[in-house]
Each structure stands twice: as structure tokens, then as C-alpha cells.
């Protein structure tokens, strides 16, 4: 009996002690104001977010033993995330409810950190805006280790931006290690897609035309190089491509890779009749034409071009002064007729080399990349994004740029969002960043693709290439795409328009990149 009493007293004492300690703990509401914003990673502060984006989990980079993040919408609803470590993992349903009920308004995040001395500290409130307009639900990109010469594991993936689910569109494992690249969609529609495959089962283009897949060899008597940088005509029946003779060299300091073209031209590929055509205005031997893109009405083909390099002069003596201009040319697909070349923006005006033009689907803005020279901005740390107002013709550097490479951008179908690849985090691996586009063309502060584990990027050493927004999921299964890629016998051989009686000087199907064995 005594013994029972003894244990009872002990248990009551423990309970009492806990109650005392709990009561004695400081309340976070009495937290000491720090007077600055908290350091959070990724930086999800002062941004505009799409109302359909996945919960933007983050790390609080402040020392402490307990963490509390209070999320509140402009309309008043509130929820909290309490964590013993510095990872703030936001519950999906509460997040989505908050975003949906505050479209066009703001939401706030109050961060509290309990110090080891038990005191809570409060940081300045993070205020983010929720846009009215959704972002296209899927992001398609290529994942690859930073590429020098060799590649091994390459895959094209799609990510549902409303959550974290990533699935493979096609990986190169069953394709004898082929390189996969240059995925492209017609008007953000996943049902009209191409991607290129090099080496492995053979260099070719994989085409998904509303669920029907085919493998196309785009080389013709005109172009011995296969099709490279693509652009769908808005009618979905025509594709513009550059054909490039690509080469690579290296630098002794800084970013050590550099890529240049010895030659390049532009061709058009007609999907229904597998025909390649071109004209001398976009395939002249005197100039290197590349990076084609169509105006949303399909009446103009925009592209970049620079004088062809002199093969008798070492490339390193001429390439650093090679600057590309932005041109456009009218094209009538029905008549297959070309208009006259128009210089849209000259390097003489910008002092920089223009590449990667992409026009917003509403036709209002043209987003392009400029770097100190060359046509491969991915390897130029000074490459930045610029926005041109196509109504006024004015252009300016967007505020979303960083001191590292910013390039490879894509528009959402509603012209309100852009995604681009940025190496700002570490100068090595590109990550997709998103911006909201104001009516004026101004960009909001960019934010990185949200991840389920906010520490994801710490150990992720692959690079996100060519992020493209699409409004629907790619439904063609990887098994079907792989089977198409492996079915060499059913390769469609592109044929050359019989009216084309000149030849590209693209120099053959070689690239500086090789599969690792």
C-alpha cells in the first residue's frame, strides 16, 4: 500500500513539474521584435505567387530551438506551422484554401523563433501577393548533370506545379544513353510536343502530335546537321528549327565552358508532309541564323543572327566579339511565301549579343536574353533577360536578373507568368525561377520552384534545362515514347522541298558532346 502511495506521489510530482514548466515557458505572442525580415531559404518574401502553386516550404535560417510560422490571408483566416527544426512544411489544404480565398490580395507570414534561452523572437512580417491568374499547371524540363563533354543520365520530366509530383516524360536509360533535349510545345499544349534525341538509337526528333508519336530524321540534302533549337508555328503544323554546327572551347578562369557555332541556318519542317523548306534570307552562308520563334499570330518568324565566323582565323580571336542581332521576317504558310527581312534590334544598339527571343502568347512582349557575346547564354554568367514592349519597341533589362546566368525562359499561356533558368544559387546548377508579369511588362521578384523538402537544392547537383510551361499534363506514356525512339525502322525521313536548290554549310552531324561509356 505504502509502495503504491509512493509511486502515486512520484507520478503526481512529475505531472506537476511538467505543468509548472509548461506554464513557465514564454509565450510566442510575447516575443521580442527583431526589427528585420527573417532569413529564409528559398527566399519566398515580397513575391507574387500564383494562386495554384504548391505549398512553398522553406527553411528558417535563424538559430533557435523551436520555430513557428503563422500564415494569414488578407481576408483574415490564419494557420500555424510549428516545428522543432527549421523546416517549415506547410499543410497543403490550408495553403490552397488561403491562396484561393485571397486571389488578387496578399498573405502574410510571421516567423517566431524560440531561442535556447527560451525567449521567443519575432521577425518582421513577410508580405506576399497572390496573383489573380493561375500559372500553367505543368512545368517540363530536362535534368542533367552540369554538361561539359560527357553525358550519361539524361531525362525529360514534368512537374505538377500545384504539388510536388514529378514524373519522367522520357529518360535515356532504355535508349542506350541517348541525349534528350530541346523539348518544345505548341502554344503551351502538351499534346503537341517535340524533343530531340542524339546518339543512342540514332539522332532524330520525337514528335507527339495529339497522342500519335513518330520518330523523324530531320536531316535532308540541305542540312546535314539535324534540327536543333525549335519553335512551333501557332497553327501546329509547322516547326522552325535552327541547324547548327556547334563547337566548344574552354576558359582558363571563371566559367570555363564556351560554345559557339561555326555555322547555322534556319529551316521549316512541315508536320503533315514531312517536308523541310527554307529560304536564303534565313539560311544565308554569310550569316549564322539561330534561335527562331514565331509571333503568336504566326505571321512573323523572329530569329537571331550574326556574321559567319571566318574559319581561317582562330575562333578564340573572333568569337568574343561576335554579337547577334534580332531579326524578323514575314511568312505566309498558306502561300509558302517570305517577306523582307526586318532588323528588330541591333547589337550596335544594345552593345550585347541577343539570343533566345520568346514572344508572350498575347503578342505584347518579347522576352530575350543578352550576353556580352555569342549565342549560347547558358555558359555566359553575364547573360540576363530583357523585355521588349512590341507596341512601343522599347526594351529594358528585367528586375528579376541576378549576377549569374539567367536564360532559357518560357511564357505561360495567359502571358502573366514566365519561368526561366537561373544559376543564381551556386553559379553551377540552373533552377527554374518564376515571375509575375505586370501589365506594364514589369516583373515581380522571382521565386524558385517549391519543393517538398525545402533543403532539396542543398544536395541536388543536376541542372534544370529549358523549363517550359504547359497547361495540361503530357499524357503520352514514357513507354510509348521509348518504343517510338527505339523503332528505327519506322523513322520518318524528312524530305527536302524540291524548290530548295542551295545547301547549308552547317558542316555535318557532329557536336562537342559525347555519351559517357
Amino acid at each position: 500500500m505504502k509502495s503504491r502511495m509512493f509511486y502515486l506521489i512520484i507520478i503526481l510530482a512529475i505531472i506537476g513539474l511538467n505543468i509548472f514548466l509548461f506554464a513557465a515557458r514564454s509565450d510566442y505572442r510575447d516575443a521580442l521584435a527583431i526589427g528585420r525580415l527573417p532569413f529564409i531559404e528559398p527566399d519566398y518574401s515580397q513575391i507574387v505567387v500564383p494562386p495554384n502553386i504548391a505549398p512553398m516550404n522553406f527553411l528558417v535560417k535563424e538559430e533557435g530551438q523551436n520555430y513557428r510560422a503563422v500564415f494569414s490571408g488578407f481576408n483574415g483566416e490564419q494557420f500555424e506551422v510549428i516545428s522543432r527544426h527549421n523546416k517549415i512544411i506547410i499543410p497543403s489544404k490550408k495553403w490552397q484554401t488561403m491562396l484561393q480565398s485571397n486571389r488578387g490580395l496578399s498573405f502574410f507570414v510571421d516567423i517566431y523563433v524560440q531561442q535556447y534561452g527560451d525567449k521567443w523572437q519575432k521577425y518582421d512580417r513577410i508580405q506576399n501577393k497572390i496573383a489573380e491568374q493561375d500559372i500553367d499547371r505543368y512545368l517540363v524540363y530536362r535534368l542533367i548533370e552540369p554538361l561539359y563533354i560527357l553525358w550519361k543520365k539524361v531525362g525529360i520530366y514534368q512537374r505538377d506545379l500545384t504539388g510536388y509530383h514529378e514524373s519522367a516524360v522520357l529518360e535515356n536509360r532504355p535508349l542506350s544513353g541517348a541525349c534528350l533535349n530541346c523539348h518544345s510545345f505548341c502554344k503551351n499544349n502538351a499534346d503537341k510536343m517535340i524533343l530531340h534525341m542524339r546518339a543512342g538509337p540514332g539522332t532524330s526528333m520525337l514528335l507527339n502530335n495529339q497522342g500519335v508519336t513518330s520518330r523523324v530524321d530531320t536531316k535532308t540534302e540541305f542540312n546535314s546537321s539535324p534540327a536543333a533549337y525549335p519553335a512551333w508555328h501557332p497553327d501546329g503544323k509547322l516547326l522552325a528549327f535552327s541547324v547548327n554546327k556547334v563547337n566548344q572551347y574552354f576558359h582558363g578562369i571563371g566559367e570555363n565552358r564556351d560554345v559557339f557555332d561555326w555555322a547555322s541556318d534556319i529551316i521549316l519542317y512541315s508536320v503533315p508532309d514531312y517536308t523541310v523548306t527554307t529560304c536564303q534570307k534565313i539560311a544565308t552562308p554569310e550569316r549564322m541564323e539561330t534561335w527562331p520563334t514565331w509571333s503568336p499570330d504566326g505571321k512573323y518568324l523572329y530569329f537571331c543572327s550574326a556574321p559567319t565566323l571566318n574559319r581561317n582565323v582562330p575562333v578564340i580571336e573572333q568569337y568574343p566579339s561576335t554579337l547577334y542581332d534580332l531579326y524578323r521576317i514575314p511568312y505566309d504558310p498558306a502561300e509558302k511565301s517570305w517577306g523582307e527581312l526586318e532588323l528588330v534590334l541591333s547589337h550596335e544598339v544594345t552593345g550585347l549579343s541577343i539570343t533566345q527571343p520568346r514572344i508572350s502568347p498575347d503578342g505584347r512582349f518579347l522576352l530575350f536574353t543578352m550576353a556580352s557575346y555569342g549565342n549560347f547564354p547558358v555558359y555566359r554568367p553575364d547573360s540576363d533577360l530583357y523585355m521588349m514592349d512590341l507596341q512601343s519597341g522599347t526594351w529594358e533589362k528585367i528586375s528579376a536578373n541576378s549576377d549569374k546566368t539567367d536564360s532559357f525562359h518560357s511564357w505561360s499561356s495567359n502571358s502573366k507568368w514566365i519561368v526561366f533558368s537561373s544559376k543564381r544559387a551556386d553559379g553551377l546548377c540552373a533552377q527554374p525561377f518564376f515571375c509575375y508579369i505586370e501589365k506594364s511588362g514589369q516583373t515581380s521578384k522571382p521565386f524558385v520552384l517549391p519543393q517538398k523538402d525545402p533543403a532539396f537544392s542543398q544536395t541536388f547537383y543536376k541542372t534544370y534545362n529549358v523549363p517550359e510551361l504547359v497547361f495540361s499534363r503530357i499524357t503520352v506514356r514514357p513507354q510509348i515514347l521509348a518504343a517510338t525512339a527505339l523503332n528505327i525502322d519506322k523513322t520518318i525521313k524528312a524530305r527536302l522541298d524540291p524548290d530548295i536548290n542551295f545547301r547549308s554549310n552547317d558542316g555535318g552531324d557532329t557536336t562537342p558532346w559525347l555519351p559517357a561509356k
Partner: protein, 610 residues
């Protein structure tokens, strides 16, 4: 009682046999060399695992990757391999003893272990193949335990097992199916088992249509060892054939049917000893003949170079005498590190010229990390980084390449990139502590005080220049211009021009000898200077140095031998080789002046012999 004694004897023999296997693996094969050759990749965490659960055989690859890390220590790797062989042998025995208790000839169940030993003597053989085989055999054993069950239940069990075997061991499902179907139809005479063929034929098709993205070739070959080039190409066929035919043979070859008269007369301990000795003898023979000494030495050279055991590098290269490009490359590195490059470069045959000094692009692409090593030592940080990235692409995040990438980025001041590789390195087994220490240094900003980082920053290039992926003397020149005290750049630069026999460029940089405080002109430099002076009739300004009389004497003797043979190089070669084979003059006369025979080995990539 006799049965018990027999069991003890068998156990003792097994113990003896596997101790021999262990010693052979540990001391002869040396699992650390398998580690060196295959460079396993294994990271902690679900993200890494998730890459393996998406394809048939991935789980086995993952398991093998985990165990291969321990090959870092030969003794531990030998334990793993020996236990694996013992398990295969035990499961084989269990399969033989299942059902109708036909045990077959004594010790026959050790044969697969012997064959696997032969396969593992090849440094390309993957552990995942052996693990896949073992798992397949385990599933076979489980299926055999269902004998006596109703056919329909066995069919269902077979379907489930088939899928699991396919998922775990990829193409080994074929072996599983063949053993099961043969056993059911031929041994047990259950023709119903022919229906098992239906799922066997359908499974790969359906799985590759709906579940996995695999090519037809991968369906039928992945994790099978038939494509590897073994010393005995027949070995994997013998191994798999053994399992296919084991049960039918045990069934049909009744005890006593083929009686060997002499063997029948053997009684007592000899009945036990004869098969034991025979097995041990054949195991020894197989091990002896399957051992790939050339590849072993090549990897050893590479291993010693990685461990910076330079004397061992030289010893291994010269003892073996095959002078493969990779061996010459590492031997040259060793000569530098032992302060012997300017005086003993030509004591190693240099048939590959500058491609033995610095790897050509073709070779470098097959050994990127080795190429990165040299550039790192020279302080050509960007080029070392370039090749480290090639290694990352080629072999994945191995600890060594992560270590290198982190270090290079710290030297470059790219701390965020360095952090990334350090965080990944933290997920490895043996380098996590190093990574944690560096991360702490980065966080506390004390990394800039590191003597290694500071040293490489002093010799790294600070002005941009352009180059292609193949080596050139221009890179060495830039390094020297940045820091004339960069001794390795100097010696490689001088060696480069000696090997190219471009003595004008060589002479131009001789004044650096004094700056780098060489006590005298190194032997090969003297040989080249003398040859240059005689050939050009120009006196070279040697500053505080002068040519030794011994060199004059040797040159005189070299010319005398040539003259004795009427300047017929072919006739004089033997004598010259014996007296002056380790001189610049000999290299010039027999490697450089006639057709360069470096091309003969162009097809042999770094480390890809054998």
C-alpha cells in the same frame, strides 16, 4: 555416428575451402582494386534510393552499391565476397536437397562458388550480378518448398514470385523460370507447369508496356553476366547452365548408374578426401588461370597513384613492363613527385610522347578523374574542374569526385557550389567527416586560412585564356607565367618539349632552373642541351651552371656506338639500348625520329585493357 562424423568433416572442409577463397580474394584479387576500378556510388537518403526502384534490377544495384563501398578495405570486401559465395553454395545445396532428397556427388554444390570466384577475378564483374543470382536461387528454393501443394496454388505462387524476381533481379527471371519449369515438367512430370510459360512470356512485355521503361535488350540481358569479357568466356554459361541442368541431372543420373570402378574401390577417409582434393585443385587451377594480371597491375598503378604511393607506382610499372598509356602517365606523375622527372623521365619508355605525359582527349574521356588529378597538382583549377565534371557525368557522385569538386570550388571561391558537393559528400560512408569539417570551415569563413586553398590560389591562373579539351604546352606556359615557381608546371613544360623534341622552346625556359634552385642541370636537360648545341652549333647560356663532363663522355660513347655500326640505327639499337636506353638521345633516335608507334595503342583506353 558415421553420418555425424561425415557432416563434421564436410563442415571442416567447407571452412577450409572458404578460408582459401577468402585469402585468394583478399590477397590476390584485392577488393580495393575492384573499388578502384568500379568506383561505387552510394548515398544515404531516399532520393538516391528512389533512382533505383524505378527499373527491374534497380534494388539489386542499390544493395550491391551499398556493399561495394566496403571494398574500400580489401579485408572487408573479401569477407563480403566470401560470404556471398558461401551463401550461394548453401542455397545450391539446399536446392539439391529439396524434394526428393537427392544430394548428388559430394561437394558438387561448391561448383557455383568456384565459378563465381572466376567471374570475380575479372575486375569488371559487378557484384550486382552475383547478388541477383543469389536472390534468384533463393526464390527457386522457396518455390521448390511448395512441392505437394495443389497445382493451382503453385501457379499463383509462381506468378507472384516471377514478378518479384523480375523486379528485383531483372533478366534473371529467365533462369528462375527455366529452373522451375524444367523441375516441374521433367523432374516432377507435371505437364501442367507448361502453363507457367504464359506469364513468363507475357511478363516482360506487359511490364515494359505499363510498369517500367526498359528496352527489349535490357529486359533479356540486364544483370546477366554474359556480355562481359571474362578470361574464360564460357564461365557465365557454365554457371547458369549448372543451375539449369542440376535438378534434371540429379533426377536422371541415379546413384550407381555410372560407377567408376577405381573410385568405387576407394573407402574410408579417401572417399571424402578425393572429391575434396579434386575440388580444391580445380578451384585453384580456375583461380590461377582466370586471374587477370595485366588489369590487376594497371589498377594497382592507378590505386597507388590515388594513394600518392609514388615509389609503388614506379615499382608496379617497371615490374610489369607492359607500359600501357595509363601506366606511363602515372609513372611520369610519380617521377615528378619523387623529384626524378628531369633526370629519369626516359628511364621509363615513352612511346606515347606527350600523350603519356598528359592524357590526350580520347584517353582523358575514359579516365577523367585521373586527368583532373594532374591539372589539380599543376594548379590549372579550371581544367581540373572540367575533368572532374566529366568524371561526375561518367561515374556519378563517387566520393572522390565530390571531394575534388568541393575542393576546386573552394579554391575558386565558389562557396555555394562547394557547399552543394560537400552536402552530397556528407551522405557518403567514408568522407562524411571531412565534408562536415569543410562545411564548418565555410560557415565560419575560416576556409580562406586553409594552407591547401591558399597554395592553390597562388599558383592558379588569374588571366583568361582559351583552349580545347586536348592538352597543349600553352596551358603549361600560362601556368608558368602566372607563377614561375610552379615547379610541376616547369618540369612538365620542359618534359613536354623534350618529348616533342622542340628544343628551342625547351632552351628558352632553362633560366628558370636557377630561380627554382636546382643544384645542377638535371641529366636529361644536359642531354638535350648538348644535342641542341651540337645540332645548332650555338652555345646555350647556362647561367651559373655548366654541363657535366660525364654527360659529354656519355654523348661521346653514344655516338661512338652509332659510328661502330656505320650509323645504322637498327644495327646499333641493341647496344645503345643497353648502354643509353634511358637517355633523351635514345628516345630521340628510336621513338621520335622514326615513325611514332604511339598510335598502335590508340584503341586501348585508360584502364580498359583486359
Amino acid at each position: 555416428m558415421a553420418h555425424e562424423r561425415s557432416k563434421i568433416k564436410a563442415a571442416l572442409f567447407t571452412l577450409f575451402l572458404y578460408i582459401l577463397f577468402y585469402l585468394y580474394i583478399w590477397l590476390r584479387i584485392e577488393p580495393v582494386l575492384i573499388y578502384q576500378r568500379q568506383l561505387p556510388v552510394f548515398l544515404k537518403g531516399f532520393r538516391f534510393f528512389s533512382e533505383f526502384n524505378r527499373y527491374p534490377g534497380g534494388i539489386v544495384d542499390y544493395i550491391a552499391g551499398f556493399f561495394r563501398q566496403f571494398f574500400y578495405y580489401s579485408w572487408a570486401g573479401a569477407i563480403i565476397l566470401t560470404l556471398l559465395l558461401l551463401t550461394v553454395s548453401t542455397v545450391t545445396s539446399s536446392i539439391m536437397n529439396s524434394g526428393q532428397k537427392k544430394t548428388g556427388p559430394r561437394f558438387i554444390h561448391h561448383i557455383p562458388a568456384v565459378l563465381l570466384l572466376v567471374l570475380h577475378s575479372n575486375y569488371h564483374h559487378h557484384l550486382s550480378h552475383t547478388i541477383a543470382l543469389l536472390i534468384t536461387l533463393l526464390f527457386v528454393r522457396v518455390f521448390l518448398a511448395t512441392e505437394g501443394m495443389r497445382d493451382i496454388y503453385r501457379l499463383v505462387i509462381f506468378w507472384v514470385q516471377l514478378f518479384v524476381v523480375y523486379y528485383l533481379t531483372a533478366a534473371n527471371f529467365i533462369l528462375f523460370s527455366v529452373i522451375v519449369i524444367i523441375n516441374c515438367t521433367v523432374v516432377n512430370k507435371k505437364l501442367f507447369a507448361l502453363t507457367y510459360l504464359i506469364p513468363v512470356l507475357l511478363l516482360p512485355y506487359l511490364a515494359s508496356l505499363f510498369l517500367f521503361v526498359v528496352s527489349p535488350k535490357q529486359v533479356y540481358t540486364y544483370l546477366l553476366p554474359f556480355e562481359e569479357k571474362y578470361a574464360f568466356v564460357i564461365t557465365p554459361f557454365l554457371l547458369y547452365g549448372y543451375f539449369v541442368f542440376l535438378l534434371p541431372l540429379l533426377h536422371f543420373v541415379k546413384p550407381g548408374r555410372f560407377k567408376l570402378k577405381q573410385y568405387e574401390q576407394v573407402t574410408g577417409w579417401k572417399k571424402f578426401a578425393v572429391p575434396a582434393v579434386l575440388l580444391t585443385f580445380f578451384a585453384g587451377l580456375a583461380a590461377f588461370f582466370s586471374f587477370d594480371a595485366v588489369t590487376n597491375n594497371l589498377i594497382k598503378v592507378d590505386y597507388y597513384a590515388r594513394q600518392q604511393r609514388w615509389q609503388d607506382v614506379l615499382l608496379a610499372v617497371t615490374q610489369n613492363g607492359s607500359y600501357l598509356p595509363a601506366e606511363v602517365y602515372q609513372a611520369n606523375r610519380a617521377l615528378y613527385h619523387l623529384d626524378k622527372m628531369p633526370s629519369e623521365l626516359f628511364s621509363i619508355p615513352q612511346p606515347f610522347g606527350t600523350d603519356g605525359l598528359m592524357l590526350s582527349e580520347d584517353y582523358a574521356l575514359s579516365a577523367p578523374l585521373q586527368n583532373s588529378d594532374l591539372y589539380f597538382e599543376m594548379g590549372h583549377i579550371n581544367e581540373s574542374l572540367h575533368w572532374a565534371h566529366e568524371e561526375l557525368a561518367k561515374r556519378g557522385p563517387t566520393p572522390w569526385v565530390l571531394h575534388r569538386l568541393a575542393t576546386l570550388n573552394m579554391i575558386k571561391g565558389e562557396y555555394n557550389a562547394a557547399r552543394k558537393f560537400l552536402y552530397v559528400l556528407k551522405q557518403t560512408l567514408f568522407y562524411n567527416k571531412w565534408a562536415e569539417d569543410r562545411l564548418e570551415q565555410l560557415d565560419s569563413h575560416s576556409i580562406d586560412q586553409s594552407s591547401v586553398i591558399r597554395y592553390y590560389r597562388t599558383i592558379n591562373i588569374d588571366k583568361d585564356f582559351y583552349f580545347y579539351a586536348t592538352h597543349s604546352a600553352a596551358e603549361l606556359k600560362v601556368l608558368l607565367e602566372k607563377n614561375p615557381n610552379n615547379r610541376i608546371a616547369f618540369e612538365y613544360y620542359m618534359s613536354y618539349y623534350l618529348l616533342e623534341c622542340q628544343l628551342g622552346n625547351f632552351i628558352r625556359y632553362l633560366p628558370l632552373l636557377a630561380q627554382l634552385k636546382y643544384p645542377a642541370i638535371p641529366r636529361h636537360y644536359e642531354e638535350a642541351i648538348l644535342f641542341y648545341e651540337v645540332g645548332s652549333r650555338k652555345k646555350v647560356n647556362l647561367g651559373p651552371y655548366k654541363l657535366s663532363s660525364a654527360t659529354f663522355e656519355r654523348f661521346k660513347n653514344f655516338n661512338q656506338i652509332l659510328a661502330d655500326h656505320n650509323r645504322d640505327r637498327d644495327a646499333a639499337q641493341q647496344e645503345l639500348k643497353a648502354a643509353h636506353g634511358d637517355t633523351f638521345w635514345y628516345y630521340l633516335l628510336y621513338y621520335k625520329m622514326p615513325k611514332n608507334n604511339a598510335g598502335e595503342n590508340e584503341s586501348q583506353k585508360y584502364g580498359e585493357v583486359g
